[in-house]
């Protein structure tokens, strides 16, 4: 009477991380490069970034599409308030159901730069910080089949739910100024999901901005390019 079903699913999350690390190894600013041609004044202004890792993720898992932008500003010596905004969608056709999830997210927090600098005109940073993240998204399933040997297969109605996810992050990373005001940087994030039981029927396969909803703690990577608008010097 036991209807045993065997399915195979190759996880893409590990390959995503591997792809990102490979890109970092080949192209990343692992060690700081000195920027020539600057004066001894330090420039200040908002710095805007875009996460390039999102585009690499598409190569590892074409079903997941997203984009993320960020902004920070050194409001006080070595203190950088940060805002990150993005969206993400996933669409997967499994053997026994079709799943989609998508929505927008935002993160806000502060980075602290603990890289000592000999020259005030050097803007490389090595930061540690935190974020609070919130994601507003909708996930749904359709074409669900629950196999049943004796009574026959059962086909439930499609299901959809609008959800809000909350999480905290510890973030560490590097930013290197490769030419004046243009930065490349990566960050490693450790995320703590605050409301894992947001949907009693179905665990979200993707909480935009967080990752897999089935994991209460998860690592994340980002690899971004930034441009700082040098509004003033002092």
């Amino acid at each position: 009477m036991q209807n045993m079903k065997r399915m195979k699913n190759i996880s893409g999350s590990i390959s995503k991380a591997a792809l990102l690390l490979l890109a970092l190894a080949l192209f990343g600013p692992v060690s700081g490069q000195e920027v020539s041609g600057q004066d001894t004044l330090r420039t200040f202004g908002p710095r805007f970034g875009i996460d390039l890792a999102r585009f690499l993720y598409i190569l590892a898992d074409p079903s997941e599409i997203g984009a993320e932008v960020s902004a920070d500003f050194e409001i006080y010596k070595n203190i950088y308030p940060v805002i990150e905004l993005g969206y993400s969608t996933i669409s997967e056709n499994e053997e026994l159901f079709d799943y989609t999830s998508g929505g927008s997210y935002g993160r806000a927090g502060v980075d602290y730069n603990f890289l000592s600098r000999k020259d005030r005109s050097v803007h490389h940073t090595m930061t540690l910080g935190f974020r609070y993240g919130i994601s507003v998204f909708t996930h749904s399933i359709e074409n669900v089949v629950i196999p049943g040997g004796y009574w026959g297969d059962y086909l439930p109605e499609p299901y959809e739910n609008s959800l809000t996810g909350h999480w905290l992050e510890i973030v560490g990373g590097l930013k290197t100024e490769i030419v004046p005001n243009l930065f490349l940087g990566w960050s490693l994030r450790y995320k703590f999901l605050l409301n894992p039981d947001m949907d009693p029927i179905m665990i979200p396969a993707l909480i935009p901005g967080y990752g897999t909803g089935g994991e209460n703690r998860i690592f994340g990577f980002s690899y971004s390019i930034f441009y700082k608008i040098p509004l003033f010097k002092k």
């Binding site: 036991q2 209807n3 399915m7 190759i10 591997a18 690390l21 049943g148 179905m202 665990i203 396969a205």
Partner: protein
């Protein structure tokens, strides 16, 4: 340069760790019933010498779930297409029709396995003859994960 080499090695190691997930779970939510008798008002286990059991399936022919000698109970899947499951029991030479009302909602077993049905048994279990004298619901919720020594209803003979 050393850092780049280290990143490259880690990348290769992680790529080699891709896993293959396999589903070994059952999808059918099964009711576990035990036969009982009363001795001085207290329930006691009992065993029947012959048990024949099948479900009443609309539009389908009868198909035996049990045809056995010596049974202390039975394990049967519940009907997800109706708000009740109907079974015909034949114990020794007596026959009874057991109607178990329930409602259900789907739940996720896992992303690898998909979904299962979570049934909740209602308390007005009915039988058509005097073979089953009364019943007690021990555990009203039934999912697809069968646990050892799990019992859902007692049927008093």
């Amino acid at each position: 340069m050393k850092s780049r080499i280290l990143f490259f090695i880690v990348s290769i190691l992680m790529t080699s760790c891709i896993t293959v997930e396999i589903c070994d779970e059952s999808y059918e939510s099964e009711l576990v019933a035990r036969f009982k008798t009363r001795h001085d008002g207290a329930p006691a286990d009992t065993t029947v010498s012959v048990l024949t059991l099948y479900g009443i399936r609309e539009g389908k022919s009868d198909s035996l779930l049990y045809n056995t000698k010596s049974a202390s109970g039975f394990v049967v899947p519940l009907d997800p297409h109706h708000v009740y499951s109907r079974f015909v029991l034949q114990i020794n030479d007596q026959t009874d029709t057991l109607v178990i009302p329930h409602h259900q909602e789907m739940y996720m077993i896992s992303y690898t396995c998909g979904f299962g049905n979570l049934f909740t048994i209602n308390d007005n279990i009915q039988s058509s003859s005097g073979l089953i004298k009364s019943d007690t619901i021990i555990k009203e919720m039934i999912d697809a994960e069968y646990e050892k020594d799990e019992e859902h209803i007692w049927l008093y003979l």
